[in-house]
């Protein structure tokens, strides 16, 4: 049943026509929503609803939803909560299949809100319209410029890419993180809000079948229907990585979560072991939620957990070996062929970690050593993935541009740790690496954890797909 429901979610992210029922006054939610749609180049039709203004951001307005004269797939509603149920009903009558209810004041805010919540659900059941929210920023689709975000984000739309983010808090949604400046390749974002109707299971089923989504990252404080979700997870994990960040681990955290979402703690008892069994890989922090998915979106899954370390700093190599152990990776033991080839460049290179620092310091073009060492190491059959330490600046970007296709062709995932002295140039380099499909981190251990998560996802995919274990996984 979820599969049937989710097949229909395409128009939630790709509506052909969108009504905006919200204040069109300068600085109002409707004003910003239409501004985002116009400036992000959304190609669908936009119907701003306003009695008092004839146009907004160059778009003609419509006095009432009933006046909309074209195809209508979705409405965005930001009105006082008391009128939301009737608004949603009118949208359904006008043919809308989805409503994004941004308004607050429902299940999260006392008995009166709960009454409105029930009225809203009754409309959903009766009309068949599907609702995201209430109490949500809604959705964002970077590939077609669609977003329901009620504040200006047109300057901060992410680079289109394979990550789909879903979350239950504004703090892990759009408008709160420099997703454009970091160069995250994001296709879709969905803020669940109260999950009164559509929830994590619906989204997971949809995103699993969405051809543009390559990795799904979800933040969940509660799970509405554990067994349904686990089933959906199993289906999704068989085709793409699913990562979940679920705070509220501690007893005190669980209490805080209950207080935040208004959900009973009893709703929340999906066993962590069951999630793991279904092949879901867990994220452990706010930072991991934002930073780890991009390695999965940009890089292939590894065939095992043997890590090559190529570093411009011997001290960094030591830290990376520690980090590898923590992340479930083990340093590769290179084949004699690789060791010989490395020796030909310099005898000091013939070990893992490969410390390229000393060679760099004696070369006229120091970074050329990466061009020789990286493809050679990635070709070693004892290597499943690699972490590479680089100076995050333009000259290194230029060096890697020359042979990034060799990295891609190796079909082994790599992650970079980039150091540097000047933050703005480091951030430019990070985006340029991202544009080459190479994830560059400014946190040494995180680069390794991203590869560790890739291994976990690969193992989960094999397990759920009932295939053999990875042959090269070493414990």
């Amino acid at each position: 049943m979820n599969n049937d429901r989710s097949d229909g979610l395409t128009r939630l992210f790709e509506p052909r026509g969108v009504a905006v029922i919200a204040s069109m006054k300068e600085g109002g939610e409707g004003y910003f929503i239409t501004e985002n749609l116009v400036r992000c180049g959304f190609r669908g039709r936009v119907y701003p609803i306003s009695r008092s203004q004839s146009q907004v951001h160059g778009l003609m307005t419509y006095p009432r939803i009933q006046d909309v004269d074209g195809v209508l797939d979705l409405s965005i509603v930001v009105t006082p909560p008391s009128v939301v149920p009737s608004m949603v009903e009118q949208c359904a009558q006008q043919g809308a299949r989805f409503c994004i209810v941004v308004s607050e004041g429902f299940a999260e805010s006392g008995p009166e809100g709960m009454l409105l919540h029930n009225q809203l659900l009754e409309v959903v059941r009766r009309t068949g319209i599907r609702v995201i929210g209430p109490n949500t920023l809604g959705v964002l689709n970077s590939t077609n410029g669609f977003t329901s975000c009620p504040h200006p984000i047109y300057d901060n739309m992410p680079v289109a890419g394979g990550i789909a983010y879903c979350s239950q808090t504004g703090l892990l949604s759009f408008g709160v993180h420099p997703i454009k400046d970091r160069g995250y390749p994001i296709g879709k974002i969905c803020d669940f809000g109260n999950k009164s109707d559509l929830n994590e299971t619906d989204l997971l089923d949809y995103l699993a079948t969405d051809p543009l989504t390559e990795v799904i990252a979800m933040h969940l404080e509660d799970i509405k229907n554990g067994p349904e979700f686990i089933e959906a997870a199993r289906r999704a994990v068989a085709v793409k990585p699913v990562l979940i960040f679920k705070p509220g681990r501690s007893e005190a955290g669980a209490r805080a979560a209950a207080s935040h979402t208004g959900s009973l703690a009893g709703d929340d008892q999906v066993n962590i072991a069951a999630l793991k069994q279904a092949g879901i890989v867990r994220l452990h922090s706010w930072l991991e939620f934002w930073e780890i998915p991009r390695t999965l979106a940009l890089q292939p899954l590894p065939q095992g957990n043997r890590l090559a370390i190529i570093t411009a700093s011997g001290g960094g190599g030591v830290m990376l070996v520690d980090a590898a152990g923590d992340a479930g990776l083990i340093p590769s033991v290179f084949t004699s062929g690789t060791l010989e080839a490395l020796s030909t460049i310099s005898p000091r290179l013939a070990r893992n970690p490969v410390d390229v620092g000393p060679i760099m310091s004696i070369r006229p073009d120091p970074f050329s050593v990466y061009e020789e060492v990286v493809p050679l190491v990635l070709a070693d059959p004892e290597v499943d993935c690699a972490v590479i330490v680089v100076h995050a600046w333009q000259r290194v970007v230029d060096t890697f541009k020359k042979f990034s296709s060799l990295i891609t062709r190796s079909c082994k995932p790599v992650a970079f740790f980039g150091y540097g002295i000047d933050l703005p140039s480091m951030e430019v380099a990070q985006r340029q690496f991202g544009a080459m499909g190479l994830p560059l981190y400014f946190d040494l251990e995180l680069a390794v954890r991203a590869l560790g998560a890739s291994v976990d996802c690969a193992r989960a995919k094999l397990r759920v797909g009932e295939l053999a274990e990875m042959t090269s996984y070493r414990s």
Copy 2:
């Protein structure tokens, strides 16, 4: 004995006269060292040694070290390793008390290097000159503009402040991290290099008595003399926090460390428990090494581990409660007085975490709520420290400027987690918060871990000082 030795280290960081024995050609090490000294406003005398150039960066050069005509406390040597021992000897004869040997090619590089290492140590013993290095970037002192760094860092000198960093890898030293752009308050940095003469114990003793140093953060791959170091640690911890990051935890990591520094694993067996016993607080990652000391430098030590959480995001509150548990902190239970006062602002505020989000959304000046809530919460006797979630942008900086003195006067440490959409403005806000003495993090869990480390440092100080345990520490 170490104490006697360390008393003399002042001139290593505050030399009155510095000879630079290195290539003065454009792009040479001596060229950059003198450029850094000139541009950083170093007030001591600088004697560039060059036979071929009469001046460099507007400074008169001296053909030989013997021609130096003024006070000489220190020499910076970047020459082929074979001539280093005789150079150091000539410096000693000229009256220099310290030498920073940047050159590589000593104990870290085979039997020939070991011979040079022994020659160098023989000069040290015979003349009494003290050496940092070899194989080092040397030192940096932000308060007087002195640095031996052989590449240009004059545009990236940190804001002067209470952190002293020492490390055994270039990757945790200067020139590899945006210490200025991040606004870290750093007084001194020392790259140990090979630690052939001066080592971690000497530096620890010196920094413990240095009045400008408020927190000492050391990266160590090995410890030369465990019992001596433990004794020095005990003395230091009694007066200021000492944080140590010691990679090579795993067996594989220890092997990599031995390969990097050339030290035998046997040198390295200082028991972690002994470090802890001496009151040293451990840092666990590259990121913690850079990010945690600033909270200790900017904020007072707490009297206990009860944490108040003030957040603009309910979802963030849940994550912070989890993070608190991981960091050894527990959420405060506010007194009835505080709860009443919070209720007066809004009944929804009267709990911990204090979720200010809903109130912000209905206020004309949303951020004014911090001005009311923060001082009130910090005044609660059940609160030892606080983490505060803010939008990292100019308007929030302006709000906190109005009452940052109230935070300071509370004598309770605070750390901030800042979110935002635009990286450059977030980074401006981070520096402005830092200038107010308030540490702002872009990593939610890290802000809490910094407070956890503060609690650990406070407990260690009490324990080593043989005072009573903190009365308000709750397990």
